[in-house]
Amino acid sequence: MNFLDGLLILSLLSVIVTGFAQKLRSAGWLSSVLLGLQCLLLMGMAGLAYGSPAVSSSFSVSVLGQPLHWQFNALSWFFALITLASALASSVYAAGAWGEDYRLQGGNPGLLQFALNLNVFAMLLLLASGDLLSLFVGWELVSWASLLMMVLAGGAAGRFGLRYIVYATAGAMAVMTGLVMIFQLTGSFQFADFAAIAPSLSNAQVVTFTLLFVFGFGVKMGLLPFHLWQADAYAETPGPGAAFLGAISSRMGLFAMLILVIQLIGLGRLINIEVPYSFFSLRDVLMWVAAFTIIFPTFTAMRQNDARLLLAWHGIGQGGYMLMGLLMVNPLGSAGGLMHVFNYASYQAVLFLVVTAVIYRTRTADLNQLGGLVTRMPLSFLMMLICIIGLAGIPPMNGFVSKWLIYRSLIVEGMPLLFVASVVGTLGTILSVYKLIHNTFLGQLRLEHEQIREVPWSMMIPMLILSAVVFITGFLPGIVLDWVASAQAALGIPVLEHTLGGVESPSGNLDMIWICSVLFGGFAVGALVFYSGNKSRRVHQLDNYAGGHFLTADDRYHYSNNFYAGLMHHIGHWYRGTFQWLESSLGSAISLLSAATQMLFNSFHPALFLLLAATLSLLFFAG
């Protein structure tokens, strides 16, 4: 029995325990302790991230003569770390005051904790998969577990959950088709057997497998054009659950795609396949899918008026960066992509938690109903500030480092248009997150919010710790880059040479230790200059310039709606809702088809059809 066995058993036990202890008042803390123990067990395997060989589980099951087994390597460890850390943070957040409040609102915090543990177990099982069959089992579990989380809130959430499961089922069908095709080729579900025949696959086969797996797993990631389900479903999930799903759940798609497309099929094959009548290779096509996944959802996020939706749309967009980075041959890009998974999870979780904190105090996430909360919830403001800097990819936070790696590799590989696309995404993110923090925390404080206070410590501590991670891994990116490099080695792709402060390469270095130190030095100088001026006097927010008018307490003096009006004059008509239209027309086409079939069946004699079907199936089985 090794650490992996322990981890999987404990995780399963946690699911069972939290399942039975739902009604307990202390169910939340119990779940947090169990998740904490799982983190400890994961730490026991930390050697994996520093070059230890993969750990195999001692369990194995055989299904129809096909063995299923589980193992952990550096890549699984890396993803598992993100999973467990974000689950733990969400669990602690939900265990205290928030859980009580949720119960009072009519929710069941115990069920939320159970769903959290179920998701963690499913994800660990997927991450530990040692063959294609266990991968598929893990994949399905993850899909259904996240459905449970999404529909917890009931109401509209149920509808969005249903939409998700339609997409997820279609994806699972594609994955299963791919796996069956692999089985026909190799007669086994072992990774090694598929990897062995991968070089001898014909181009057509490679294209088929790539498309099947990119579609199947890409649905979960929200790759364009299969992204429509995600934002609504995540936004409707209860706060801490949304933080967890938003941080890591979609990345399971990336993980599975990495194993099948990057590790087993290999980027080299994708680069060598030319798309007919174009300059593109198959890899380029996928990179453009990633680029559009960055741009469209980001600019959709900019137009949202609900903070949760805004974040959820950004979550889709950020996935594009990860895929884009991982599709690059040079180690800078793939390291950037992998590191972005970690960085993104750290700040996205906090952002969802901060928004949940705002909802906890004000009962709304409507960006037109808030404002000025910085004076009432200063710590929450600080957490959001740190994390939007991370999300926007501006130094000194960790999001900058991973994006820098991706930009650098795009320059090295000579891809100007993709470079521009990724920067456009970043700029759009900056606009969008400023709107988020401005409409929530800055501007005029509303009369009804004058009495609210900062959130309790049980909610604040997880946010504080995760924001510290956002900052520290920006200051010392080498910590994460160590893990990333081991994950690269586990994937069998080139490994990034790095230092504690960043990257040293002949064509341009990055040393975040120096940069951050100088930046904070600069702030110190700025502060010195500022405070050397005459002392300032604090005035009330209504003591403002208003064109000669005097403001009173009932004047709303806050700019929030249609925040980027000037920009929307120009690009507003580019938002055509094409994907919505595509989705609904596909839906209409299917219902039309089924109606037509039903009509055909009803208007003729049903018995004839039965006879026909029976004859055909007899012929099929007899022949």
Binding site: G414, P416, F419, V423, G508, L519, G526, S532, G547, G566
Partner: protein, 300 residues
């Protein structure tokens, strides 16, 4: 150890130099404006007096802590960014970041300003920031294409290498001779980034009461003044480093910097102001097109 000490000294010294040069750039801007409008213009030391006056004012109005911190970030961010821009004799920490880093580091002052203005709770200011961020979205796209082209051409994102290559090969290897189309696009983007007419959409005194500056007075306005002088310096030095071979010595360096800056300033005072969407349309069309053509030339 000695090297580290030297770097630290340079990091301290470079912003001071930048500040002084930046103030003279403000002076040049005012002088040019005055001459174009047939006025005499301010005396030599006027920008210094202005800074001292603003910081020393009796009435200093704060709208809260974030208002203060925003101004600190606006000035401090530029103080830090200057150490990434090599000048003759001093490289600072330019080899630890490169141009991509510089492009993103110079967003910190803007972010600081945006936060500070947001705290003021004045819609005029917020509209100004919305416009400023929109114009950033506009001009940063050609700007980043230019950076891509230059980095690809020189095979490095390190400004020291870029300057050394140009200086070793003489005028024929300067960015402007090798990549003239990119240089034009770069100048266009530089102009838009300065927020001067006709791209002055976020100040717009007649519409939104000077936008971000509406609640700023005293040392808050002084901070913005300092920020502007740093901004002029950063933009022109970066342009000189990318396209005009950087500074061989201080004399040619300053000549180039002031000459580069004079172009957008003269244009600015000859033209009226655009609307936000006109700016986005114009900048996304011409400089982006030029920059892409420039990159195509560089890459073939």
């Amino acid at each position: 150890m000695n090297e580290t000490l030297l770097t630290i000294l340079e990091v301290i010294f470079m912003p001071v130099v930048a500040f002084v040069i930046g103030l003279f750039m403000v002076l040049m801007m005012r002088k040019l404006a005055a001459r174009l409008q047939r006025r005499v213009g301010p005396p030599l030391m006027q920008p210094f007096y202005d800074v001292i006056k603003l910081y020393g004012k009796q009435t200093q109005i704060s709208h809260g802590l974030i208002h203060d911190i925003g101004i600190i970030m606006a000035v401090g961010g530029y103080v830090a960014a200057e150490s990434l821009l090599p000048v003759p004799g001093m490289d600072g920490i330019a080899d630890k970041g490169g141009i991509v880093m510089l492009a993103y580091l110079t967003m910190i002052p803007s972010l600081g300003l945006a936060l500070g203005v947001g705290q003021c709770a004045n819609p005029n200011g917020s509209i100004g920031i919305s416009r400023a961020l929109t114009s950033m979205l506009a001009y940063d796209i050609p700007y980043i294409i230019v950076i891509f082209g230059v980095a690809y051409h020189f095979g490095s994102t390190n400004l020291i290498d870029i300057i050394d290559t140009q200086q070793a090969g003489g005028v024929a290897t300067w960015g402007i001779s090798e990549m003239p189309v990119l240089a034009i696009a770069g100048l266009f983007a530089l102009h838009a980034s300065l927020g001067k007419q006709p791209f002055e959409i976020y100040i717009a005194p007649a519409e939104i009461a000077t936008g971000p500056m509406v609640e700023m007075g005293g040392k808050y306005l002084g901070g913005l003044f300092v920020m502007q002088s740093f901004q002029l310096y950063t933009a022109s030095v970066l342009y000189v480093s990318l396209f005009l071979g950087g500074g061989e010595n201080w004399i040619t360096f300053l000549l180039k910097c002031f000459a580069v800056l004079a172009i957008p300033i003269i244009i600015a005072y000859l033209f009226p102001r655009y609307r936000t969407e006109d700016l986005v349309r114009l900048v996304w069309k011409w400089p982006v097109m030029l920059a892409l053509i420039g990159v195509a030339f560089v890459m073939t």
